[in-house]
Amino acid sequence: MNTFKLFLAGASVLALSTSVNATDLEVTHWWTSGGEAAAVAEFAKAFDATGHKWVDGAIAGGGGTARPIVVSRIIGGDPMGAFQFNHGRQAEELIEAGLLRDMTDVAEREGWKDIVNPPSLLDACTIDGRIYCAPVNIHSWQWVWLSHAAFEKAGVAVPTSWDEFAAAGKALRDAGIQPLALGGQPWQSSGLFNVLMATLAGPDVLTKIYGEKDADLAAGPEMAKVFQAASDARSMAEGSNVQDWNQATNLVITGKAGGQIMGDWAQGEFAVAGQTAGTDYTCLPGLGMREIISTGGDAFYFPVIDNAEITAAQDVLAATLLKPETQVAFNLKKGSLPIRGDIDLSAANDCMKEGLGILAKGNTMPDVNMLNTEDTNNQLNDLFVQFFQDASITPEAAQERFVEIVRNKD
């Protein structure tokens, strides 16, 4: 049966690619850093191989810049062929308004239900039993990246957990090294905090607070500890003076900073810089505190376009994105985990393998994007970017405002 399905899918792809002469499909994404651009090139290559043409619509400046452009173009009636979002609630309303295509047919033909692992990824694409997006990778936030060179210079052993890292902060600072690198963009600050919350207080706390709006929990002592840790992180991050996340990563790569808390996409930067995990840098999933990773990630959505050729090309793209070979090539470059468990990733480096191991054990948690609307995320961004940049805000005051946001979230 499975082979038959595959055959059908293959046939349809073939049929489409032969009957339709190279349709240009504009794909919008915000992957513009070195590692990201290399990864997206793999998608483009795979898609171009089907006889169509990937028209790259990269938007620099991260999701915050790109999402508004995507949304306004769709609302403005000039949608692109496909676009990348973090799957979760970001596209909710667009789907409800019927602006995005129902990709269930492709999903069934390709048997996504069987191959996507963990299945929660597909759930994030599903509304009322219909599938609206094609997940392409798993990104987890809960990593800290540590520079061997920096710790060597400070004369401290490379930490194995957040607590050790925090303790080494002073030694790093004394050695003239920036203990923690943190970019100035708001999402990095709130991301850092969410990681601390998930690893120090535990994923359940995060799910309860964001998923169930548990304001009492948010105001409780467990969270107070997280805020205290955030305050420590703040003093370690003081003086980063960079804006983009990959500039911060670069500080780690060059040994100017001790470490950075950043999602697994940072790995791509290390790879581009030619560094090896274990010898040049160390990665600690779950900050070495708790073996847990979130299963957020990127997914492609396909706006409704009244043009049979484009629709056909969209189908082809959706299918191509989840093909095993595409998945391997893409995720190796991107540093993210593939969304199917049935492919060989022997080429992956140590960090990735660690992630795969955790994934296999099922120690996963939902991504913040699946629990929060962008509105809430935006409020969190505002709160934490201010918190991390302004030492005069006490953890208590920040917690108070945090509770307020949780209480009023939708």
Binding site: V40, I59, S72, G76
Partner: protein, 313 residues
């Protein structure tokens, strides 16, 4: 008729006041270095440094290699002049998979600016002419609304215009952006043209009507030929305005038709490892080059234009 009395008085004056000859006489001496001049030129020179410094730093930085930038002083002239950053900024800097540098944005900006300038000036000049010379009922009201529009924060209009462009089927296209520029350029240009046409003697307009010229006849045969200066001024205002726009470019277009400012912001923010300040500065200069050239070439007219456009209410 010579007056003998006044003649004799003059003669007496010459005879008696020998002492006065040593007093001030002739042109008052001018000192090149007076406290006043030191103050004026000193201040102006100091101020000029403040205004010129960024341009200087931009140019110097864009001609250096990255190692030199990291080590050196931003004000130091380049030790080794390299044009590579310029080449990269123009032709190969990447945003995502597009590694065409600013070149594409440049041509987009040209394709956006030219029709925007033509269309907005055509509409605004006719508006100004109709308002100045053909006051019809309600004209004052519409004009007031239009001027009010000049002060509405763009943010208020962002979303309604998304809807408007969607309804017109122009969203994301170059023509959509042209329309947006024409709409937002209309208030200030209309004001400019109205003020200008109002200052044209009304009798000229009356004479033309007696001569049997109609609305378009007067516009094309009388008003247009005599208002070339104001058209140039409007062009300068509009070229720099459209070229420098960022917000509309980012909201109402797609990557294919991104204007240069948006592309510049993309390139500068697409950091691959470390920021390449030299490329960024080269890109910045290239982006600013068109309005700068327009400004330098037009010189006085530009000055007269913004003064004329703004001083008269």
């Amino acid at each position: 008729m010579a007056n003998p009395i006044s003649l004799s008085v003059t003669a007496a004056a010459i005879g008696t006041t020998r002492a006065e000859l040593s007093g001030p006489r002739g042109a008052r001496p001018k000192r090149a270095i007076s406290p006043r001049n030191v103050f004026i030129y000193g201040t102006l020179l100091l101020v000029s440094v403040y205004y010129l410094l960024p341009l200087y730093v931009m140019i110097v930085t864009s001609l250096k290699g990255m190692p030199e930038i990291r080590l050196g002083n931003i004000f130091a002239p380049p030790v080794e002049v390299t044009f590579e950053p310029w080449v990269k900024a123009w032709a190969t800097a990447c945003t995502g998979l597009n590694c065409e540098g600013l070149s594409r944005g440049f041509w987009n900006s040209v394709r956006i600016t030219v029709p925007s300038v033509v269309l907005s000036i055509a509409i605004a000049s006719v508006n100004g002419y109709a308002l100045a010379n053909w006051r019809f009922k309600g004209a004052d009201f519409f004009f007031t609304v239009l001027i009010f529009g000049a002060f509405i924060p763009y943010q208020v209009m962002l979303y309604p215009i998304v809807i408007l462009l969607r309804e017109l089927g122009l969203f994301g296209s170059l023509w959509g952006l042209v329309l947006v520029h024409s709409i937002f350029g209309m208030p200030i240009l209309t004001l400019l043209f109205r003020n200008y046409f109002t200052s044209v003697p009304e009798e000229l307009f009356k004479a033309a009507r007696v001569d049997g010229a109609g609305f378009w006849g007067i516009y094309f045969k009388i008003m247009l030929p005599m208002s070339l200066p104001i058209f140039v001024v409007a062009m300068i205002i509009q070229i720099t305005g459209v070229w420098n726009d960022f917000l509309f470019g980012v909201v109402y277009t797609k990557p294919d038709v991104y204007p240069m400012t948006v592309q510049l912001n993309n390139i500068v923010n697409s950091v691959q490892g470390v920021k390449e300040y030299n490329v960024n500065m080269a890109a910045t200069i290239i982006t600013g080059l068109v309005p700068l050239i327009v400004y330098f070439v037009s010189g006085k007219l530009f000055v007269r234009g913004i003064a004329a456009g703004a001083v008269k209410g």
